[in-house]
Structures are given as C-alpha cells and as structure tokens.
Symmetry: C2
Subunit: 182 residues, 2 copies
DNA sequence: GTCTATAGGATGATAGAC
DNA sequence: GTCTATCATCCTATAGAC
C-alpha cells in the first residue's frame, strides 16, 4: 500500500479513538490496532502521539471550516443560513469522532500546543460566521452555543437514553432535529 | 488534621487538576502534590482514581444543581430567571475546575461509569430547568447551549487571547458578560 | 514500507513502618 | 492518619530486521 493511503487510514482510526477516549486516554497502540498496523509504525509516521493528535485536530478544523464555507457560498437566502449551517454541522456527526476530537481539544486549553491550535481554530470558525456568513456577535454566539450543545450530547452518548428516557428524547429532538445521531 | 478535612482538601485539589488535564491526563501524583499529601494517601482515601473522579463529578453536579435550585427559589420575576441563572452559572467559574470537570466528563460518555453519572447529571439539570424553572424545551435547550459555550471558552483558556485578539474579546463579552473570567 | 523486540519512563496501587 | 518504599503494568518511543 502507498504511504499516503496508510497515513489516511491511520488518521481516520486516530480520529475515532481520540474522539472516544480523549487525547490522554487514547493510546498509540489502540489507534494502531484500529488501523490494523503495528504501534511503532503509527509513531514512525507521525513522530509523536501529540503530533498525530494535532494533525487530527487540524484536519477536523479544516473539514468543518470548509463545509461551512461551502454552505455559505451556496446559500442564497440569508435568512435560511443559520438553519443550513446547523444542518451541515449535525451532518458532520456521521464522521464519528471528528467533532468529538474538537471537543476534547477545546477543553485542553492549558496544553501549550493543543491549546494554541484549538483557540486559533475556534476563533477562525467564529470569524467565518461573522465575516463570511454575516452574523452579528449575538447570532454567532448563539449558533456556536448550539454547536457546543450538540458536541456535548454526542460526547455524552445521550442517544443511549433515547428509548428509555422521555426527557432525553425531548432534549435530543430539540437540540439536534432529524438526524441519525451519534 | 481530621480525616474529613483532608478529604475536602484532596477533593478540591483533584477538581483543579482534573479540570486542567482531564480524567486520563491527570495523575494521582499531581493531585497529591497539589493537595500537599503523598500519592498513596490519595489512593488510600478514595480507593481508585476513578472513584475519586466520580466523587469530584458528583460534587460538581450537586453544587451546580443546588445553586440553580436556590436561584429559582429566590427569583420572583419569571422573566428575569434565564438571566439570573446564567449569571449564577458564570459565577461558578470562580470555583476553578468544577465546570471543567463536568465538561471533561461530558465528553467521556463511552466510559461505563463516568458516562452513566454524566448523563444522569446532565438530564437532571435539564429536568430542573424544565420542571422547576418552568422553561419550555426550546428555552431549556437554548440555556444549556449557552452554558456549554461558556464551558468551552473556559476550557480553551480563551481569556488568554482577550488582550491580543479583538475577535476573542468580542466573543467573550458576548457569551459571558461581565465576569472576571477563568 | 512495515514489522518484532525492547528500552526507558511514568503511573496506579499495595505493603508495611511510624 | 500519613508516609516511604516498591511492585506490576502500561505506554511512548527507539533500534534494527526483513
């Protein structure tokens, strides 16, 4: 297999494992097993576990920002934009792990490297909402708030309570309408 | 020193360290050093690192729920309730680490123990907002969204960008008005 | 390009002294 | 009630074979 393909494969596996267990909780061995390669090979390709996480993080940010820019460019009705962006965001949950990796990074602001990248990425999302989507500060904050709740519900695995808890059902349908969830 | 006092001391230190580094990233040794005791003593008192984290988590949930119930009981003007609750929530940021521990727990829903407690706690907060505060699903979701954004900004250490980045300044003042931040 | 073997260090937990 | 010493395990990273 070509080097680039293996790289992609490992990045996908890493996104899933990091999303599930967090930066510290995930091990290079688990990531390697998920990718079907040896643990030293993971380290060999990415240098260190931290560099691997930073690459996963950057990829997640790029994907999110790219998708938002697409939606903004395609959307002609300004009033429908918040709804469209929200829908696009919820759809990103299907890429299991991606948004969760973001969330894990967002609560590690104390880490010198991760914190720097995470803050820059978050602010860039905010900037896109303000400048490209034309949101005012209140709208942008509200929109981001909704995204953070979606991330939290995904991280909590709240869908596990869907059938047993009416309150969870109500919360999920209100916060992230019509999606297959994650 | 009495046993109960040491316990409190360690719980406080653990809240801080877990909030900073997350469940997996925090070590019992760091917590012990922060509390000024030996590492084995921390384990001795709480049994395992996981039990310690679960106790920190439960304490954080109890504090949050208790504060919300207080505000709801004291507030006579129903229309002012969302604002009052939000202010109370932001004030909890001064108890550095508490809300961050919640956030770390909220993204570890895959863990059998932590996930169970985290989901139950989150849903109880939602229930208090619905039943005790009288919010409808939309209001409750919106309110929780704002809380999650506040947690995220705190976890990101976004206040570090306050002076250098006008965008960060705008975002922070919009999302969490007038507080000393964290 | 990918693996096996393993070094080196950290970590959670236990044993036992004081 | 609290500590020192220490074990056993796990984990990241390196060395080197194929």
């Amino acid at each position: 297999m070509r080097s680039g393909d293996r790289r992609e494969l490992i990045l996908t596996a890493a996104t899933f494992v990091f999303g599930d267990l967090g930066y510290s909780g995930a091990t290079t061995d688990r990531i390697a097993k998920a990718a079907g390669v040896s643990q030293p090979y993971v380290v060999r390709i990415f240098g260190t576990k931290e560099k691997l996480f930073l690459e996963v993080l950057q990829h997640a940010l790029d994907t999110l920002l790219g998708r938002f820019r697409e939606v903004i460019a395609e959307c002609t009705d300004r009033a429908a934009l918040p709804g469209e962006l929200r829908r696009a965001y919820v759809d990103l949950l299907t890429d299991r792990g991606m948004l969760l990796c973001l969330m894990h990074a967002f609560v590690l602001g104390g880490d010198p490297e991760i914190g720097r990248v995470a803050r820059a990425g978050f602010l860039e999302v905010y900037r896109v909402l303000r400048d490209d989507a034309g949101f005012d500060p209140g709208q942008a904050g509200e929109f981001l708030s909704g995204c953070m709740l979606i991330n939290t519900l995904a991280g909590l695995h709240m869908t596990e309570e869907l059938d047993t808890n009416p309150l969870a059902n109500e919360l999920l349908t209100t916060a992230m309408p019509r999606t297959k969830g994650a």
